[in-house]
């Protein structure tokens, strides 16, 4: 009996579900080449290269040809600014949360200390509660804090404390730390204590042991945690939504704003570019991982 043969019912459902998963994405990418500017019908790909010409809301000619909407996108300063913000937040928050999270993982895995249970519980909370709640509570705190400080310190105009990129970064760090800690802890759990004992037995003190033995061995876990954090940050909507201010919009926020206003194939182009970047990044990571093995 071939253990890999499945019943037709299962195979059919699998194909259906895969179709379900990918159809929207395919539609998205397809329509980024749509000639029509507004119509949801696919009126064809922009064939001709040449100066921009619009006929009946159909772009029949464009300097970029079929990639018209992508060119349009590259001229969109709002998108570029949002993209830049997204990256700034992601990189900063990832670095900080990875360092702090790794320290926390070490602390929880190796030591017994007074606030241990409290720390463990508080690290689980962001994972268990809905993001809305976390976003709201942080917003409440910041808004109350700001109005109090602005009033009591008599700050006006530009000097006033308000929501901005820095509040987003702080919020991101806070919800990323538990995830990093979880991942690194899992890695630490599998790490045999005897490596570190061997290092100390051979003459290395605590710091040297960590530097030469422990850290290289948990590095894959730390990297995985950092990657997870980075992904969470780039994709985050809800928490960013409640903690950002004017001028500090990230890409997801920008897209959401657009969706409520005007929809053009430019959005599809943005989506396609995003998907491609993500795919490329994942491909890179897989390559790196397999190389390390």
């Amino acid at each position: 009996m071939n253990p890999y043969r499945r019943s037709p019912l299962i195979i059919a459902s699998t194909i259906l579900v895969f179709f379900f998963l990918y159809a929207p994405i395919v539609v998205l990418i397809l329509f980024s080449f749509n000639a029509s500017r507004i119509s949801p019908l696919f009126t064809g790909v922009i064939a001709k290269f040449g100066p921009y010409r619009l006929v009946n809301e159909n772009v029949i000619q464009s300097p970029c040809g079929p990639f018209h909407w992508f060119c349009d996108l590259s001229k969109n300063t709002e998108v570029l600014s949002a993209a830049r913000n997204t990256l700034i937040v992601a990189f900063t928050a990832t670095i900080v949360s990875t360092v702090i999270g790794t320290m926390a993982a070490l602390a929880l895995q190796r030591y017994y200390f007074w606030l241990r249970t409290f720390s463990q519980i508080s690290l689980y909370i962001p994972i268990v509660i809905p993001e809305v709640v976390m976003g709201i509570t942080i917003l409440v705190m910041f808004s109350q804090l700001f109005s109090y400080l602005n009033a009591s310190l008599h700050l006006v105009g530009d000097a006033q404390l308000s929501l901005g990129l820095w509040t987003v970064i702080l919020a991101h760090i806070s919800f990323m730390i538990p995830f990093v800690t979880l991942v690194v802890q899992a890695r630490l759990q599998g790490l045999d204590k005897s490596y570190e004992e061997a290092a100390m037995d051979l003459g290395a003190n605590e710091l040297t042991t960590f530097r030469r033995v422990t850290f290289p061995m948990i590095l894959p876990g730390v990297m995985a945690g950092a990657l997870l954090a980075f992904t969470l940050s780039i994709d985050d909507f809800i928490i960013t939504f409640f903690t950002n201010g004017p001028g500090s919009a990230t890409l997801p926020i920008y897209v959401f704003g657009l969706l409520r206003r005007v929809i053009t194939p430019q959005l599809n182009a943005l989506s396609t570019v995003w998907i491609l970047i993500v795919l490329f990044a994942v491909f890179l990571t897989q390559r790196l991982e397999s190389r390390q093995r």
């Binding site: 253990p3 890999y4 499945r6 299962i10 459902s13 579900v17 895969f18 379900f20 998963l21 929207p24 994405i25 539609v27 998205l28 949801p40 019908l41 702090i100 320290m103 926390a104 602390a107 190796r110 030591y111 200390f113 007074w114 606030l115 241990r116 508080s122 909370i125 962001p126 268990v128 509660i129 809905p130 993001e131 809305v132 709640v133 709201i136 509570t137 409440v140 109350q144 109005s147 760090i173 806070s174 730390i177 991942v183 605590e206 992904t231 780039i234 994709d235 909507f237 809800i238 997801p252 897209v255 959401f256 969706l259 929809i263 989506s271 995003w274 998907i275 993500v278 795919l279 994942v282």
Partner: protein, 306 residues
Amino acid sequence: MLKRLRENKSAQGTLLIVPTLIFMIGMLIIPLLLTLVVSFGQRGADGGVIYTFSLNNYIRLVGFTTDCPPGVKTCFTSLYMEILWRSLVLGFNTTVLDILLAFPLAYFIARAHPRWRNTLMFLVLVPMWTNFVIRVYAWMMILREQGVINSLLGWFAGLVHVPFKPLGMIYTPGAVLVGMIYEFLPFMILPIYTSLEKIDNSLYEAAADLGASPFRTFLRVTLPLSMPGVVAGTILVFVPVMGTFIVSDLLGGSQVILIGNLIENQFLSARDPAFGSAVSLVLMALTIIVTYFYTRKFGFGEEIVA
């Protein structure tokens, strides 16, 4: 002094955890406590908060309000309870349907040839790595009155000369359900797959050897062993569904209001942070209670870490 530190293991641990504690206390505990305080307050001028101690907001949630037709002092409106109920039902439906969709897929991949498993799993995860908002937009494109489905149906109807009226799919509870199912499906597939993958092939062979039909094998062997994954997946789906407002906003319009929408509304449009805080805390309490009893009954799925 270093020597003292070396001896005191507890102090070392404390030192390492301090930055984490600063963030957890400052950005989690304090905000939660502050929100709690605010929830007992009242709506102030200009969207601010008047700090008092009043249970008004909570009472309002349950349905008793002073905002009544003239002549009546307090009346009952089930508005908020309806929202709560609607959100719970949506959460439940999404979870169940996601399980039904995820299971066959996860099963197929888990029992596929090892060489293909990683590739297949990778294919499952690609949509998940795509941004959340973008995926909702995709469904907007598909379900709109002039969206893909309607256009295709219209074009087809034109071919066979049948009169066609576009289906009103978007801005309905159905659309929101579809959107939710789609968004969170990968989060259900992953844990279930992890559980199923752990089942050694020899268990299926043993069951067959002992006379179990494929169906009974599924019931008595596969299903119980997949439970940790199902539990983990349920938590990963149910909690966010209760809290998301994007899907209901974009696919449901003003027709479908969930708790998430209510909260967003209070803070942005209605400018009543006190009430919004109360609703948020109720939501949090609800999710914690459901999660607690659920994991109590079914065990905590370690597959969440995957």
